[in-house]
């Protein structure tokens, strides 16, 4: 029996504005992401990559088409359902988006404590272990302003992964990093995700990191175009 898809997108379209100003941004998107898969999404600026990511992440309401994420239908889902879903997705942003007034440990704890209803869950211990895993054990009590760009992005990875999500959505996570720390961050993300069977949907313009992908997708004017990756077995239906 094939594994349930982590993300299943069918006939998904999206527009911004209304009337004269109406602009189609996504057109009839089909996409399936399976458990543990690393998918890279590329495409020119303004082609709709971020919009697709925000829809999959439950950050925007679906306008048209069908969207299932982690087995939950997001088309027609109410706000509360979207909020609950987001707790099970790891988000990594271009800007690290850490909370300035919290130290590293507290930043990761903020994400970890969303799961404190889980049996045996110790927010602080989980956060500490995750910070060790991204190699920042010695910086637990540092504030973001005192960390380098690469370190901040690692904290962001720890925050995204501490809830043990099955899906990571990353939007240009290396864009603000130099090539070396960019590479480190991506390797770390891939390593941790593979260890836990986490699927990754990664938007990037950075051609140096394409090798981590199982599959590459290309976006052009709101349409998805398949392109060559290491493996082309998951053709869209």
């Amino acid at each position: 029996m094939p594994a349930e898809p982590i993300v299943a997108v069918q006939h998904l379209s999206h527009h911004f504005g209304a009337g004269e100003l109406r602009r189609e941004v996504l057109l009839d998107i089909h996409l399936t992401i399976r458990r543990g898969e690393v998918v890279i999404l590329r495409g020119p600026s303004g082609s709709g990559k971020t919009t697709l990511l925000t829809l999959i992440g439950g950050l925007r309401s679906v306008q048209q088409g069908e969207l299932h994420v982690l087995g939950q239908a997001l088309h027609g889902a109410d706000g509360d359902a979207l909020v609950r879903l987001r707790r099970h997705i790891g988000f990594i942003f271009q800007a690290h988006n850490l909370l300035r007034f919290l130290n590293v440990l507290q930043n990761v704890q903020m994400a970890a404590q969303l799961h404190d209803e889980r049996p045996g869950w110790d927010t602080r211990a989980e956060a500490t272990a995750m910070i060790e895993a991204v190699g920042l054990g010695g910086h637990r009590h540092s504030y973001p302003e005192n960390l380098s760009g690469g370190q901040k992005q690692r904290v962001a990875i720890a925050r995204a992964l501490v809830g043990r999500p099955r899906l990571i959505l990353a939007d240009e996570p290396t864009a603000s990093l130099d090539s070396r720390s960019g590479r480190d961050v991506v390797n770390l993300m891939q390593h941790l995700a593979r260890e836990r069977g986490t699927a990754i949907l990664l938007v990037t313009h950075d051609s140096r990191i394409l090798d981590i992908a199982d599959r590459q997708l290309h976006m052009e004017d709101g349409r998805l175009v398949q392109s060559a990756g290491r493996e082309v077995s998951h053709a869209p239906r």
């Binding site: 349930e4 898809p5 299943a8 971020t50 990511l53 925000t54 992440g57 950050l59 925007r60 299932h68 982690l70 087995g71 939950q72 239908a73 509360d80 909020v83 609950r84 879903l85 987001r86 707790r87 099970h88 988000f91 942003f93 271009q94 988006n97 909370l99 300035r100 007034f101 919290l102 507290q106 704890q109 903020m110 994400a111 404590q113 969303l114 404190d116 889980r118 049996p119 045996g120 869950w121 110790d122 927010t123 602080r124 925050r159 043990r164 999500p165 099955r166 939007d171």
Partner: protein, 412 residues
């Protein structure tokens, strides 16, 4: 494809009996304390507002309390008043027959009449005349329990001799009277009673009562001297009846009996009821109560505006962070709680210094004016509630700014 979500639950390692821990990050405090200057400004603003409210309420209460200074000094449990008297400073005389009638009851030990009126008092040094409050009583009745009055009771048995209140406003020559009296210099001046006849009087003693709403200064004299000053007053008409009950008598029952015994042309009151007559007279019939309430509202508004500004700026500056929290799965209500917690914390942080400052201010005011002003638990709690309300209302308004935190924007 199933519609049943399959969210991950971590595999557990170790014994299942591990206790659940719910240590939550105290976001409100961490966020606020990181911006020290802003925190200080906010606390200062709230402190200012709370001090303003406390002092205004304190002075208001003190003025209303001062209206009952005389009431507190009358030695009795039951009081008679004309039904037309709205206040002891606007007392309507009634017949002292009502007073004597109560003596027929076994519960009544003694009954005595008090006379009140206003007179112009000439400052014995500057010769400027001002209005003061004149109280007359029978010195043998001991119905006024003020230390100085008891000590100098003999003096006022002499004709045209009065006792002067050393807590009176200074314009009456109060300090000079005090000095001259201790040096045993004779103090004579003119008293010109309203609806009475001008007389030269001698100060035969001093006592401490305090200025009231009605009068900036007080003199006390004997009933005989009082009638000399106010010859137009009908004989046998008094302003206040003071009844002392036999010790151990149930006051409520005695009052019921006295009421049944007397016709309805006189009010029979307990001490508290008697005091309330004057308190409500000042609270309702004069613009003073209104002015103090207005000042309290002003303090409230000033504080609310400061807190609103601070919280609004705070939320605005952290919009990206709030959006991030929404994106990773925090409910709007949880973020709303953070802002309200900040408001509540600010209220408490501002209230504590305000309480200390206002307590000090009360002491200073009471020393300077002899107004009976003091911090009471009830007033402290009232202002704490007002301060909390002020902060929470502002917080609830500033929370609307959270709507601008759109988690869909965070990828940009």
């Amino acid at each position: 494809m199933v519609d049943q979500p399959y969210f991950d639950v971590p595999e557990r390692s170790g014994p299942a009996a591990k206790p659940r821990r719910r240590r939550r990050i105290f976001l409100a405090w961490l966020q606020m304390s990181r911006e020290k200057t802003r925190l200080r400004v906010a606390v200062l603003g709230i402190t200012f507002a709370a001090v303003l409210m406390m002092v205004q309420l304190g002075i208001r209460d003190a003025l209303f309390d001062s209206a009952t200074l005389l009431h507190n000094s009358l030695a009795g449990e039951v009081f008679l008043l004309s039904p037309h008297s709205a206040s002891v400073i606007a007392a309507q005389p009634f017949s002292d027959r009502r007073l004597h009638q109560t003596l027929a009851l076994p519960e009544v030990q003694s009954a005595s009449g008090i006379y009140v009126g206003f007179a112009q008092w000439e400052n014995h040094r500057t010769h400027l005349a001002r209005n003061l409050y004149v109280i007359g009583f029978n010195p043998d009745d001991r119905s006024i329990a003020i230390e100085g009055v008891e000590r100098y009771a003999k003096a006022i048995k002499q004709a045209d001799t009065v006792l002067f209140d050393v807590y009176s406003r200074p314009e009456f020559g109060t300090a000079e009277i005090g000095v001259d009296f201790t040096r045993q210099l004779p103090i004579t001046t003119e008293m010109n009673p309203i609806a009475g006849s001008l007389r030269r009087v001698t100060v035969g003693g001093l006592f401490q009562l305090g200025p009231t709403f009605g009068g900036d200064a007080n003199v006390i004299t004997s009933d005989v001297n009082f009638r000399r000053l106010f010859p137009g007053r009908k004989k046998g008409s008094i302003d206040i009846g003071v009844i002392r009950l036999v010790p151990g008598t149930d006051v409520e029952r005695a009052i019921r009996k006295i009421r049944a015994h007397l016709p309805a042309d006189v009010q029979v009151l307990t001490k508290d009821e008697f005091k309330n007559v004057d308190r409500s007279y000042w609270a309702s019939s004069k613009p003073l109560g209104y002015i103090f309430n207005l000042n309290v509202i002003m303090g409230f508004l000033v504080g609310a505006i400061i807190v609103y500004q601070i919280l609004y700026t705070d939320v605005s500056e952290h919009l990206a962070e709030y959006a991030t929290l929404k994106a990773i799965g925090y409910q709007d209500s949880e973020l709303l709680k953070v802002v309200l917690q900040e408001a509540g914390l600010l209220a408490l942080l501002g209230f504590i210094p305000a309480f200390l400052i206002a307590s000090g201010a009360h002491l200073a005011i009471s020393n300077a004016t002899h107004l009976p002003i003091a911090m009471t638990p009830a007033r402290a709690i009232t202002v704490l509630v007002l301060t909390l309300a002020m902060c929470l209302i502002s917080g609830a308004l500033a929370v609307r700014r959270l709507k601008a935190a759109d988690p869909a924007d965070i990828f940009n």
